[in-house]
Structures are given as C-alpha cells and as structure tokens.
Symmetry: C2
Subunit: 277 residues, 2 copies
C-alpha cells in the first residue's frame, strides 16, 4: 500500500515518520505547496518521494494534514480525480463538523474524519517527531457515513501507532475541542498580549519561571492555522470563552470583596480537575 | 555556620538540599509544625536535625519558607529572641512589600527579603529537589535597608546555587510578580473550573493533550498558599487580571464580529512574546 501525505508540517510529517516505524507501507509520498518543506521532508527522510497533486491517484491511503480551509478545497479536488476504488481518505483537521458537512458525497464513504489530540507549539517538517501520536487520543467522527473497509484501514494504522481511538459525533467533538484546546489557545494569546502591553514588559518577563512559560507556550502556535480553526468553530469557541470568563469574573469579585475563604473554596474546586485529568 | 530552615516543604526542602550540595554549612536544622513533614525531612536527608522554635538561636542563617502570614508572625517572634549577633534572616515569600513593611525594625538590617522564581506544582518535603534553583532568577528586594554583611552572605549562598540574582524594589517586584505568576495562577484555576462545570467534563477532559495540561498545571498548586499570596498582592493582582481581561475581550469581540484578519494580527503580536521570553 502507498501512503500519500498532503501537508508535510508537524502533524503530517510526524504521521509519515510514525507510519514508517510502525505500519507496513511500501512507499510514502508527499505533497506540499511550500518548496522548502518539500526539500526538508525529503532530506529528513519523512517521505520517499515528492509528487504532484494529480499523481495522488497512485495512493491507497491519503492523509490531509493541512489547514481546515485547505482540507475542504482538497476534498473537493480529490472528488474529481480517478482515485483507487478502495482508497482511504483521512483528514487531521482540528474541527470536524464543517469539514464533514462540506465533503463531496461521492467520496464521503471513503473518508475517515480524524483528529489526533497531539501536537507541540512548533511547526514545519523539522518539528516532526516519530512518537508524536503514541499514547495520545485519536478521535474519529461520524463513522456511520464511512464504509467499514476504510474505517478498518484507518483504525489498523492508528492502532499500529499506539493511539487511543475514540469514536464521537462531530458536534460533540467540536464542542469538546473548543474547551480543551481552542479556548485555551485564546487564553494563552491573551496572557501573552497582556504582558507585552505593559511598559516594562522586558523586566516582567525576566522573572518568568516554569509556570508562566507553560501558560504562554500555546501562544507560540502558528496564528494562520489557529485563525482558521477558530473561524470554523466559532459558536463553540465563544461558549467556551464565556464559561472561562464567568470563572475569571467570580475570582475577581471574590478578590475585590476580600472574600478569601470563598476564593480558597473556588481554587480547591479547580484543584479537583487533576483527579480526572 | 549552621543553617536553619523554617518550613520543610517544596521550597525550604529544596533549598536545604541545594545548600547541602553546594554550600559549606556545618549543620542544617529544620522546623515545621507538621509532624509528617518533620519525619519525612529527616528520612529524606533534607535536614540533619529537627529542632524546637527557640533552638533557632544556634543558627547563623535562618530561612523562612512558609506562607506569607506565617513569615510575618515568625519575623515578629524572631525579633524577640536572643539571635546570634551576625545572623542572616532570609524569607522566600512570593510577595515582598507587606512582609518588609511588617518586619520589626530591630531585625530589619539582618533581613534579606528574597523571592526565588522557581517552583513546581507539587508540595511537601517529598517534592523537594536539589536543583530547583539552578539557573533560576533569585530576586532580592529593598537592599538599602539590609546590612552589607548579611547581604553578602545571602548572595554568596545564592551564587553557590547558580541562581541569577536580581536586585529590585519591593513595589516593582510585587507588580511584576502579579503579571508573571499570580494572575496566571488565577487564569489556570479559572480554566480548570470552567471545564469542571461542564456537564460532560469527563468526556471533555478525555481529549486533553499537552496544551491543555500545561495550561491547567498551575491549578494543581496549593490553594491555601496561593490564597495568602493573592491577599497580600491584591491591588497588583486586580490590575493584572484587568489587563488580561482586556485582551480576552478584544479576542472575543473580533471572533464575534468575524474579524479574523484582525484576530490573526492580534495573535501574531502575542507570538512575539517568545522573542523576549
């Protein structure tokens, strides 16, 4: 079987490397619109070959690891190509509902909408690592509209990478992702901007220890990619921001009114998250 | 020279272990009100001996690594003891102005108000590690009121632990600490509570990857200790929360109005934090 990876950045590159180590593809080919990504992916041994878009028809498994808008366009393009009869098409978009809704119906049964809950704040082929998905959750959405054959192929690959597969409907996924990933990115960018806007920001940052660094880490993420994700999950994201703001407001009010015992209880409640995390 | 550590938790315990490896104390003694902390500190080799409070008079260097309220009380108690003529008293409180303001004047010249910008989300003697302070910033505040002798002793110890010493006035320190440490803790607790209040919180948390974990890590911190810190830095903390809220509001408004290009620029600005971090 031949694997084709469209988008050779952190996620696509890591997927190719992981498959090389764990799944028996006869060849891994790659597509990227960025010339330096193509060169690096070849040099780093992420793919065996760089191909043109219409050569993707040779592939048995096609993975779209590109921004959400691009996934939607490429699914449209793929639907017009003479793909292999049993091709399995996978996407790694961070929101699922819009992508699934816009997937052309002729390829929908061959499409396995997926979201690996993994990543780092780095990007590009040089950020790719072979164990990115190990022991991480891999969500597959709306499987009722995917053929059993393609679903099995995807699950076989995901299992070979030691991921923990979770099946979910896309509404549920997008809501959960807003809370666990999208809103926290907005929070991290807010924190970064709040500090940057202080006159003495360099002196403030000079005191940064591990705690601040871990809170500000997500603000290193690629703004172009995240803008896209936020746009495609707007409503859930706004809900999650509101839920967060509500808690911040509670804390602020308790501090302002010097109700420190109540603030203590509120923090204690937050503490319990780590019993389920 | 004999070192006395009051408070054998993460910070005090780590300081004792670091001094054992790097500074030539003839003996390290410890005080804690918690019986299990005392036993663990002895068993883990953090201190050579557990002593009663009035036996602290044997020490040449006394470190207060306890909550802020307790530091204020213990300084008061120390001021009434027949301490050694050249004793050096150090505290590790996370806010400095209130502690310094309340330090009895007879011991103020022997007092070196310090704040190591280091820590983990864990607590207790078992959390102590010998390299906690290595390459971390150690702030010393308001040195004009400390004798040269005591200042030099403290700096000699801090240098032996490979910390980066920064001198600062306490107003400035407390303001910076609010932005870099105290407000981010409130943000992390808010995030934890926002997720916990969702009906399907366990399903949400099941999707957590590294990003969420790093944002929620500070909410593991000890609420009793942090309540104290927040209380003693109220005004700066409220300012920092407001600065953060302002940014969150900008983001929310841009999302709501679908101004994604402006959101992109806002994120891009946040990105630049990492050039100075």
């Amino acid at each position: 079987m031949i694997l084709g990876v469209i988008g050779l950045g952190l996620m696509g590159g890591s997927f190719a490397l992981s498959c090389k180590n764990n799944y028996n593809f006869s060849k891994i080919v790659g597509i990227d619109h960025n010339k330096s990504h193509k060169e690096k992916a070849l040099k780093l041994g992420i793919v065996d070959e760089i191909i043109e878009f219409n050569e993707i028809i040779q592939c048995d498994v096609i993975v779209l690891s590109i921004p959400i808008c691009a996934i939607i366009c490429v699914l449209e393009d793929l639907s017009k190509l003479p793909l292999k009869e049993n091709v399995t098409i996978i996407d790694f978009g961070s929101t699922k509902k819009e992508i699934i809704d816009k997937c052309p119906s002729n390829i929908r049964p061959k499409f396995v909408p997926s979201h690996p809950m993994a990543g780092t704040e780095y990007s590009g082929p040089e950020a790719a690592i072979p164990n990115l998905f190990e022991n991480k959750v891999m969500v597959i959405c709306d499987i009722k509209d995917t053929n059993k054959y393609q679903l099995n192929i995807a699950m076989e690959i995901y299992e070979s990478l030691n991921t923990n597969i979770r099946l979910m409907n896309s509404d549920e996924h997008d809501r959960h992702a807003a809370f666990i990933s999208h809103m926290p990115h907005i929070v991290s960018y807010s924190l970064a901007n709040a500090v940057l806007k202080q006159e003495d920001n360099e002196h403030i940052v000079a005191l940064a220890a591990g705690g601040f660094r871990s809170m500000a880490r997500l603000a290193k993420s690629n703004p172009a990619m995240w803008k896209d994700i936020f746009e495609s999950n707007e409503e859930n994201l706004l809900d999650a921001i509101d839920a967060f703001k509500k808690e911040l407001k509670i804390a602020k009010k308790l501090i302002k009114k010097k109700k420190y015992n109540e603030l203590y209880s509120w923090m204690n409640k937050g503490n319990t998250l780590h019993q389920i995390l």
